[in-house]
């Protein structure tokens, strides 16, 4: 029974850091993790001695494939000068670092450790596109990849099913993309930092300079409908529905709840967490919902005693625009088939009643797969502490936020609820 699951003792997040996300020709995974950890050190309000870290977990999906190097646990502990403490790599496709976070939480909850580091790293830009696509497709179900169903194709089929069932159209996906691109320029760590309107202006200016025909888009959606601006990848997924290829790292410092005051006067606590697994699409009971999401949400809500209406904002795994709609329905923020209208009404904007992906989401912040889960939790942590800068959710007294992470084609889903007391 998911609602019965409780931690043996509470866990607080007292520090966090992430590298900038993007494609970095001049940095490798170790450089990126060092950048993230350096920020973590300065984020602990009362300062702390890294010697206090007793163990660490590092999420990584496929650096073995991307940069020909596996065994990232000890590589990172060595990098940070923390060897010989225990350091373990976790793998759950794009949910790899949320699994690192969960393992860290469980190690504290069990009483084994008091202070642990969790994080993730991925370096994808050193491969060619075909290699990255092949590498990522390793996380589809064995039945999907074989028949040309790589990630854009799978999510394209989910979108087709969603449109058919609920009467939505590509307009719904455009609303998600425009919203994410409006948040991204406010996040200095994001890979993309332009709104769709700004990208349009830049393209118009370039056309004028080069003496080419100047596009006459009437608005953002008009541009997104133009296949020269937004070419189809796996219809109905077009370029601006797909997250980019990214490099990046993220990390967090977790401590036992009763020790949080030694590190900060503004701790954020874990309220609930859940994880589920799902079948391949060929056997999935629905294409408009992920069964693993439902399991993860039931566990997280049960542990926290909270309900969907209590979650004030959330990061969700928008690897493709359609996924954002499905996740917000699976987590109960909106009813089945209702997310697309809510997004059209502006509900998920930064100043809307249910802000989603204030970071810009995977679409704009970037998606270095092994670093993504913890980076989502960092966004929630920052918002709850009031540290989110220009993208701080305005005019709200924030206490509870969520982060949902997906691996593969829904094979792994997690939902984590953080709170400020």
């Amino acid at each position: 029974m998911p609602e019965k699951r409780k931690l043996g003792r509470g866990v607080a997040i007292v520090g966090a850091g992430m590298s900038k996300f993007g494609m970095f020709a001049d940095k490798d995974s170790k450089d990126l993790f060092a950048e993230a950890f350096k920020e973590l050190l300065s984020s602990v309000d009362k300062g702390f001695d890294p010697e206090r870290i007793e163990a660490m977990w590092i999420g990584n999906f496929s650096n073995d494939f991307f940069v020909h190097q596996s065994h990232w646990g000890p590589i990172i502990s060595d990098l940070l000068g923390m060897a010989p403490i225990a350091s373990t790599r976790t793998e759950g496709a794009c949910a790899a670092s949320t699994l690192a976070f969960r393992d860290g939480v469980m190690s504290i909850a069990s009483g084994l450790y008091d202070v642990v580091l969790v994080g993730g790293v991925e370096e994808m830009s050193k491969c060619t596109t075909v290699e990255v696509t092949e590498g990522l497709a390793l996380a589809t179900s064995p039945y999907e990849g074989a028949a040309a169903f790589t990630f854009p194709g799978v999510f394209g089929a989910l979108a087709t099913a969603y449109f058919d069932k609920y009467g939505a159209s590509r307009e719904a996906l455009m609303n998600v993309t425009i919203k994410s691109h409006n948040n991204a320029p406010l996040n200095p760590k994001a890979q993309f930092n332009q709104t769709i309107a700004e990208i349009m202006q830049a393209k118009i200016k370039r056309a004028e300079e080069k003496g080419r025909p100047v596009p006459s888009w009437s608005d953002e959606k008009d541009a997104l409908r133009d296949s020269r601006f937004n070419p189809p990848v796996a219809w109905p997924m077009c370029l601006y529905d797909c997250c980019p290829i990214s490099d990046g790292a993220s990390c967090m410092l977790l401590v036992a709840e009763d020790m949080a005051g030694e590190f900060t006067d503004k701790p954020v606590y874990l309220a609930g967490m859940g994880q589920g697994s799902g079948r391949g699409l060929h056997a999935a009971p629905s294409l408009t919902s992920f069964e693993a999401n439902k399991q993860a949400a039931a566990e997280a809500y049960g542990m926290s005693g909270l309900e969907p209406k209590d979650i004030q904002f959330s990061e969700v795994h928008d690897c493709f625009s359609i996924a954002e709609l499905i996740h917000t329905e699976d987590l109960g923020f909106f009813g089945p088939g209702e997310a697309f209208e809510a997004v059209a009404d502006g509900a998920t904007k930064l100043d809307g009643p249910m802000p989603i992906n204030t970071s810009g989401g995977l679409k704009c912040k970037g998606h270095p797969v092994g670093a993504t889960g913890v980076s989502q939790l960092i966004e929630v942590w920052k918002q709850l502490r009031g540290d989110a800068g220009k993208r701080q959710i305005p005019g709200r007294d924030l206490h509870v936020g969520g982060a949902q992470n997906l691996g593969g084609t829904g094979g792994t889903c997690t939902f984590t609820i953080l709170e400020r007391r």
């Binding site: 970095f24 075909v130 040309a148 799978v154 394209g156 796996a234 060929h282 294409l287």
Partner: protein, 157 residues
């Protein structure tokens, strides 16, 4: 930008080229081996039913995932079905545009309690509709090798 941007070695750091000579062998497992052999030899699609609890599996399995009973017998299904969902692939694995886009669908297979098959649908993208009946198109027997591509795709009827 993501999938359509051509990135070839995004590296300013010093590096050496890694080339791992890997020749993968993907095995089908016992259940799928039976399934693909039947397509190759007889052009037949095999499902199986658990003798204990009655659960139906497609492709055929060697044990029941619900009650763990051994499954030894298979039965034929026609291989026909309906379009459950689909996507239209415009770009190739390397991000370059395909000459003709491919329609890839999830086919809900008749007589299988809702199992889905992922494969090509042989139709123009604007002619595909969810719920349409489809039938499989196999390669000629002499060209069949005992794998997923012994099926050329599904055609709307």
């Amino acid at each position: 930008m993501g999938l359509s941007e051509r990135i070839e070695r995004n590296v300013d750091l010093s590096y050496f080229e890694g080339k791992i000579p890997v020749n993968y062998v993907y095995t089908y497992g016992l259940g799928l081996e039976k399934f693909f052999n039947a397509i190759k030899e007889k052009g037949e699609f095999l499902a199986s039913r658990c003798p204990e609890c009655g659960a139906v599996y497609f492709p055929c399995r060697i044990f029941c995932e619900r009650c763990f009973s051994e499954i030894t017998r298979t039965f034929k299904v026609p291989g026909t079905g309906t379009v459950y969902s689909y996507t239209v692939c415009h770009l190739d694995m390397d991000g370059s545009p395909k000459k003709e886009p491919d329609v890839v669908g999830l086919i809900e297979v008749d007589g299988t309690e809702g199992a889905k098959f992922v494969h090509f649908i042989d139709a123009k993208p604007d002619k595909v509709t969810i719920g349409r009946k489809v039938k499989p198109v196999l390669k000629a027997k002499k060209d069949r090798e005992g794998g997923i591509f012994d099926i050329k795709g599904f055609r709307q009827v």
